[in-house]
């Protein structure tokens, strides 16, 4: 695609921007994220210890910590063994989510391009997509299972259904965000639909693609978990179910915490890639008003 990689040979002007603006913003967002995390953990701990819920079923962050890191707190005795048992479970879910995300992003990108190219496709496909969007996934899931069986393909389809529509609408909005003058410019130099798409529309859609990706990435984790919960015997979703039926509550709560952490990590990864790709190439969107306007 037509993205410029002039980042390393910037003039004085953008270098100044780089050394002042980005780190401060990064530090602030890191600190606020850490504060939020501590607050959530504190609330979790306080609610469970002060309530009358059975401590046998309801576990606190400290219990999860003990399950993960303290020898003898649960079986197997060694905490390292318990952690080692979790690794393949997490790996399966990560695999399901990753395949699902790739599936969803690809389908959404292709869908958005087709929609932007053809008004017939828009008229035919958009209502169907909208209707499908309103059908609860839990109602569709058995149908998908009946058709595709258990396997990574079904996991990918479930994840793709969750992410496809919002991602496609985001990308589509991005594709049509190019100014009329820019489109005119491409025509003025004899450029056709293909050049317009490649050199103008796709690069213009990148910020909205990433905005959609930051929502889609954590959503695929929950979609993968849902698939495993319903149709599979592996991964976080399936193990949530079995740990519950074996009344292994420390494991159950640990798995819940791991699932949440995985969804947050998926978001953070999407945000990181967004920053790596967009910053310095695209106009900053969240800068302080007084810093706007550039150098003139």
């Amino acid at each position: 695609m037509d993205i410029d990689d002039g980042g390393s040979e910037m003039t004085d002007l953008p270098r100044k921007v780089r050394s002042v603006r980005i780190p401060r913003r990064a530090i602030i967002s890191f600190l606020s994220a850490a504060a939020t995390l501590i607050l959530v953990l504190l609330l979790w701990q306080v609610i469970i210890t002060t309530s009358t819920i059975s401590t046998y079923q309801a576990k606190t962050p400290i219990d999860v910590w003990r399950y993960l890191f303290v020898d003898g707190a649960a079986k197997p005795v060694s905490a390292a063994d318990r952690r080692a048992d979790l690794v393949p479970i997490i790996a399966v879910t990560v695999f399901h989510a990753a395949v699902g995300l790739i599936f969803g992003v690809t389908a959404a990108t292709v869908g958005a391009i087709v929609l932007s190219l053809s008004s017939t496709a828009r008229a035919m496909f958009l209502p169907i997509a909208l209707v499908l969007q309103t059908v609860p996934l839990i109602a569709m899931a058995p149908v998908i299972f009946a058709v595709f069986g258990s396997g990574v393909l079904t996991a990918a389809i479930v994840a793709a259904i969750v992410t496809f529509f919002p991602l496609m609408m985001n990308i589509r909005a991005g594709l049509s965000s190019a100014s009329p003058e820019t489109i005119e410019l491409v025509h003025a130099y004899g450029g056709g639909r293909r050049r317009l798409l490649w050199h103008v529309q796709l690069p213009a859609a990148l910020p909205s693609l990433f905005a959609g990706l930051k929502i889609a990435a954590p959503a695929t984790v929950s979609a993968a978990t849902l698939y495993e919960f319903l149709f599979s015997f592996e991964g976080l979703g399936a193990n949530l179910l079995t740990s519950k039926s074996y009344s292994n509550y420390p494991l159950l709560w640990t798995l819940v915490a791991v699932t949440v952490a995985l969804a947050l990590a998926a978001y953070a990864l999407a945000a990181l890639v967004e920053r790596l790709v967009l910053s310095h190439r695209y106009p900053p969107t969240r800068t302080h008003p007084s810093r706007r306007g550039g150098a003139s």
Binding site: A188, G190, H199, V200, G294, S296
Partner: protein, 260 residues
């Protein structure tokens, strides 16, 4: 007349369906010679931009005939024979200044002439900003990038649609003198859309004064002032004569419309 520049014969452009039709351009006929600077001067809504877009092959006349340097606008466009700049700079924010100037090469599928792009960047005084992004520049700098981009393919024809229309007066005047210099170096057949009377007189060989609704040409003024025209020339009696003449025609065009 020697080699033809732009040639318009009974050009009319109507928009809309039959029952709600709007005539944007009505029966425009004019000729210029190759290498001359023509301004389309008129109030907003007089169809001057529509006229320019038709010459550039971005729109087609309902009736009438247009050729530019002997070519149809369609062939002129597909042959990448012209450069164009709009009021909206239409720069791609993710491309650096240099890569924006190179964009016409990409669109035309031609190899980038790096030395020429270097030269263009220094001609518009932006060689130090080649790696900056458009959103880091001032409005005037962005329009300079747009002008450099318009010249990228060494076009023999230049279309300018109010290129400095969004800028403040100081910057605008400054860029007008730069434009005069660039134009005289490139010898391009130029058509500029403007609503600035002094700007039109400063730059043009011919000024087509237009009136609105329907857009038509009131008269064509041939500006016979020596070049290069300098800032001091703008206070000369000859300069004022042309400004007054254009003002009269513009005013006549508007009063005529109100009377009818």
């Amino acid at each position: 007349m020697t080699d033809p520049g732009v040639s318009l014969t009974n050009v009319t452009r109507r928009f809309g369906s039959r029952d709600r039709e709007v005539t944007a351009v009505s029966d425009v006929t004019l000729q210029t010679r190759k290498g001359s600077f023509l301004s389309l001067l008129g109030p907003s809504g007089c169809g001057k931009s529509t006229l320019l877009r038709m010459m550039a092959g971005l729109d087609a006349p309902t009736t009438g005939r247009i050729t530019v340097e002997g070519l149809s606008p369609h062939n002129l466009r597909l042959g990448q024979k012209y450069g164009i700049a709009f009021q909206d700079h239409a720069l791609l924010p993710w491309r650096t200044v240099r890569r924006n100037v190179e964009f016409p090469f990409t669109l035309a599928g031609r190899p980038v002439e790096r030395d020429w792009v270097d030269e263009l960047l220094s001609m518009v005084g932006l060689e130090q900003f080649e790696h900056a992004r458009p959103w880091q520049l001032s409005g005037g700098m962005r329009q300079r990038v747009a002008i450099a981009r318009a010249l990228a393919l060494r076009p023999s024809v230049l279309f300018l649609d109010e290129p400095f229309g969004a800028l403040d007066d100081m910057t605008r005047q400054h860029l007008n003198f730069e434009l005069q210099r660039l134009w005289s170096e490139q010898h391009a057949t130029t058509v500029m859309v403007t609503h600035g009377i002094r700007e039109a007189v400063l730059l043009s060989d011919h000024i087509a004064v237009m009136s609105a609704r329907p857009g038509r040409i009131v008269d064509i003024i041939d500006v016979d002032l020596p070049r290069p025209r300098r800032l001091a020339d703008m206070s000369s009696p000859e300069f004022h004569h042309y400004v007054d003449r254009a003002s009269e025609l513009l005013f006549a065009g508007t009063t005529e419309r109100h009377a009818s």
